[in-house]
Amino acid sequence: MPLTQDIIDLLASGVSHQVGGCTKEGRPSLCRGLAAQVEPDGRLVVILSAETGFEVIAAVRDTGRVALNLTLPENYKSISLLGRDAIVSHGGAPFRELVLDRYRKFRAQLDLHGIPPSYTEAWYLRPDEDLMAIRFTPFSARNQTPGPDAGSALALKTP
């Protein structure tokens, strides 16, 4: 289902990305993602490092199931998006600008917490050939902001 404008805005606000998967044998895995955006067809694409995220990529290829957590450090606003039709492909250079944009915004967020840019670089500076893409159609969105409502469902647009 398409994402609401709130969620689309959140994608470009300087969030951290955490990507999770699980193998058919039930082994969960997760890694940091680098960027996410809505594709013209309404699907979501998440960019991550092949080297850093090898285990998650393998799990998503295994089951097609993926979870993406987006959290904005300045106010702890956090949501999770789930997909069960995920497809993994090479991302590469076409996503370089997107990754740089998200990197700059995330770096500014962490700067508010006193974390220096060099630290954020340690996570983000990956070569083009290492950039992988996971595309999926979110079927569920959940509020993950700390508090009693954590885990509650968020609305998605009806197509």
């Binding site: 955490q18 039930g26 082994r27 997760l30 957590n69 670089e121």
Partner: protein
């Protein structure tokens, strides 16, 4: 054992990634393999095979964990940018005890820092076994920050200095001065535990505008009270509002049936806005004798290594304190003959010493001085002085005095006398106490005294 550790990693070696600067992230999955990712408030190192995670809300992650008992966890090094991934197996949830209290104390620090005190509530400490630990590949790791001091070497120096101390006062000053000089810990307080009163009395402090000797708090107050109650170190790296924590801790103490808080008559020293605190219990022979509280204006000033170092130093201090009883002269075979009525060393208007027998609290005119064992000792000494003019007393006769009812900490008389001596000196009282040779002390009185005892 099916535990796998790659890259020669150990849980102990990565424990600084649990300091709380970057929150840990957990991935769980439902029985039908749908993953769920969420941030946690805290992870806590328990031992080389186990960690504890904060359980605050019943949410999807918890539902998954209870169904599958499996989770993956990532931790980020707050200084180098390195990261690790853990595969963990859920074992149990603890709702009391040292691990729970450590998490609770840290959570309150994190919560007040984030302005989310009302939201953050620890329901339990989830204990997990670590079955696999590996490094996150592909990170450009930064060099680790320079340590504040050479902790092992400087701890050894301080330990050697303490080992050379022959008297309680020397031992106390050596520890507190050494913290600043050798470990760059400039704000410290040393608290004594009175098990009968379920209270903590401040013996000495360093780095504050007021000394506060003799100030009291209840066992439930703040991280120092919790450290004593649980007998474990409590460390908080992000904190803005200690008062909120103190209130929460006191609620817990009240729930456990401790005595209500004794209203402190002596102002407490302390940083106005501490950003880091570490409380370390003074443990010896299986008992907690008190606690050292150190604090800083900087976030994350104290790490696991500081905690380890202070545990060792405080252990040494506690054992020395409990054993440090000087050789005492034998009591005279005959009781001393009554002497002339006491005369003060100089004249002046009389001061009234008032004692409340229910807790041995002692006031000079309207000024609160001390209570408990130290108060009972002062009352006895002054009473004897007024009755028969005696100024010198042996520790041994105090130890055997039935009216003092000294607590059983190898009665720890030396440290009580030191507390009393310093409190009188800090108040510049008209009664002072000084050592008069090994195992003896002398009372100096500069004004006439009248006594009044009340219930």
């Amino acid at each position: 054992m099916n535990r796998r550790m790659s890259d020669n990693l150990t849980l102990f070696g990565v424990r600084r990634m649990m300091e709380g600067v970057i929150p840990p992230t957990m991935c769980t999955a439902s029985a039908d393999r749908m993953p769920n990712v969420s941030y946690l408030s805290l992870a806590e190192y328990v031992d080389p095979l186990h960690i504890a995670l904060s359980y605050q809300f019943f949410n999807r992650s918890r539902e998954n964990v209870l169904a599958t008992r499996r989770a993956a966890l990532t931790l980020d090094d707050p200084y180098t940018g390195a990261g690790v991934v853990l595969q963990i197996e859920y074992l149990r949830t603890e709702t009391e005890g040292p691990v729970f209290e450590r998490l609770r104390a840290k959570l309150m620090g994190v919560a007040s820092h984030a302005g989310m005190d009302q939201v953050f509530h620890l329901r339990g400490a989830d204990i997990y076994r670590v079955v696999e630990l590996r490094r996150v590949p592909g990170r450009l790791e930064l060099p680790a920050a320079e340590p504040r001091v050479d902790l092992p070497t400087n701890c050894r120096l301080l330990s050697e200095r303490m080992a050379n101390c022959g008297e309680m006062a020397d031992l106390l000053d050596t520890l507190l001065d050494g913290l600043g000089e050798l470990l760059r810990i400039d704000n410290a307080m040393l608290w004594l535990f009175d098990s009968a009163q379920q209270a903590l009395t401040l013996l000495a402090s360093r780095g504050y505008e007021i000394g506060g000797t003799g100030a009291e708090i209840s066992t439930g107050d703040g991280i120092v009270g919790t450290a004593v109650r649980e007998g474990v170190p409590i460390r908080v790296g992000h904190m803005m509002n200690m008062a909120r924590y103190a209130r929460a801790a006191r609620d817990r103490a009240d729930a456990l049936g401790f005595e209500p808080l004794h209203k402190s008559e002596i102002p407490l020293p302390g940083l106005k806005e501490p950003r880091s605190q570490l409380a370390v219990p003074l443990r010896a022979r299986g008992r907690v004798l008190g606690a050292l509280l150190v604090e800083s204006k900087h976030d994350q000033h104290f790490g696991y290594d500081d905690e380890d170092a202070l545990m060792l130093l405080c252990g040494q201090f506690a054992i020395a304190m409990s054993l440090m009883q000087p050789a005492e002269p034998e009591l005279p075979r005959e009781p001393p003959k009554p002497a002339e009525p006491a005369q003060p060393d100089s004249a002046g208007p009389a001061v009234q010493m008032r004692r409340y027998a229910r807790d041995n609290s002692v006031f000079l005119d309207d000024t609160y001085l001390i209570r408990g064992v130290a108060g009972a000792i002062l009352w006895k000494l002054v009473s004897e002085f007024l009755r028969c003019g005696r100024r010198e007393f042996s520790n041994r006769e105090l130890r055997l005095a039935p009216e003092l009812r000294l607590p059983d900490v190898q009665d720890n008389l030396e440290v009580r006398l030191l507390l009393l001596q310093r409190r009188l000196a800090e108040q510049k009282a008209s009664i002072q106490l000084e050592k008069a040779g090994r195992g003896r002390m002398r009372l100096n009185v500069t004004r006439p005294i009248t006594l009044q005892s009340e219930n």
